[in-house]
């Protein structure tokens, strides 16, 4: 598991490189991607924010667009068993570590101690690699501007897909996931970024047979 987390963090570092480089190339000073990556710590929304502001958009409108993208963290918090993000004061910090990668690693583990360990290891790794990559990318600047040539943009979806494949072996989950993916794709041309992924949650309706089967096993 630790090796997979390390590799995921490496991929995050590469994506961070392109983020920092793009931010600087768009005319932002170094501190913008640096502060953003540390305090927001959610890649897609930061790309969007930088893109909108660089194109002349209002920073508040850009923030709202970013928030729309990040709204998926609410259902993530619902999905995580209590205690994964830590208890008491630690949870204040642990909450900040919630992202696509840390959540998917946590969900993949069997019991609470493992879930917590995976969540924190991946969360801290991303906390180091994402801002680290962004600052490095901003320093290197336009030399790594064309990261697409190395196929780095395929890494993020591949990382997430690789991690959810074990869950997709369950037929009903696969069916619901495919439906959700289709809904999001169909909605993408028409809705602002972030909403299509949320709309995919409609596919939860395809998970009911599972509920019925468990109900028959008897009420608690």
């Amino acid at each position: 598991m630790l090796r997979d987390i390390a590799l995921t963090c490496l991929a995050v570092l590469f994506i961070g490189l392109s983020y920092g480089a793009i931010a600087v190339a768009s005319g932002f000073p170094l501190w913008v991607p640096a502060a953003q990556s540390l305090l927001v710590l959610a890649g897609a929304s930061e790309f969007l924010f930088v893109g909108i502001v660089a194109a002349g958009g209002n920073p508040f409108a850009a923030a709202l667009a970013g928030l729309l993208v990040n709204s998926r963290h609410l259902p993530y918090g619902l999905a995580l068993p209590p205690g994964v993000t830590g208890r008491g004061g630690r949870r204040i910090f642990g909450t900040h570590l919630m992202n696509d990668e840390s959540v998917v690693f946590a969900l993949a583990q069997e019991d609470l101690p493992r879930k917590r360990a995976a969540y924190w290891a991946c969360g801290v790794g991303v906390l180091i690699c994402w801002p680290g990559g962004a600052v490095l990318g901003a320093l290197i600047g336009s030399t790594v501007h064309n990261t697409d040539a190395f196929g780095l943009d395929a890494m993020f979806p591949a990382v997430i897909l690789g991690l959810i494949v074990p869950d997709l072996r369950d037929r009903l989950t696969l069916r619901a996931a495919l439906a959700g993916a289709a809904i999001a794709l169909i909605a993408t041309p028409f809705l602002p970024a972030g909403l299509p992924v949320l709309l995919a949650l409609v596919a939860v309706l395809l998970l009911p047979r599972d509920r019925g089967a468990q109900r028959q096993e008897g009420a608690p």
């Binding site: 993530y76 959810i164 608690p220």
Partner: protein, 107 residues
């Protein structure tokens, strides 16, 4: 750059709002006690969200199609993962196939 103060305010809004999203799901979950089947449903919902994220980041750029190279790489990675290839192979293959196709002039 635009007015710095405005940019900082926008960044602060995004950071604070994102943290609020991260926290509110957990607080909701702590307040309500879920039966096991609802817990499974919530996990299923997270998988659906992640699958939709994979589909949109692999296939789209802005509001349009991303081109063939990226989804082709992700698909190869997915197939390898399905056949239980090591995670490293999955990720490197995805980037490699995408880079290779672009080298050949595929968008």
């Amino acid at each position: 750059m635009k007015d710095s103060t405005l940019v900082v305010a926008g960044m602060a809004t995004l950071a604070a709002g994102t943290y609020a999203f991260r926290l509110s799901g957990q607080l909701l979950r702590a307040r309500i006690s879920f039966p096991p089947r609802a817990t499974k449903l919530l996990e299923g919902a997270a998988i659906i969200l992640l699958a939709a994220l994979v589909a949109t980041t692999a296939l789209t750029q802005g509001h349009g199609f991303s081109g063939v190279a990226r989804p082709a790489g992700v698909l190869v990675g997915g197939l390898l993962a399905w056949r239980k290839a090591p995670f490293l192979v999955v990720v490197i293959a995805a980037a490699g196939v995408t880079a290779g196709l672009r080298l050949l002039g595929v968008p």
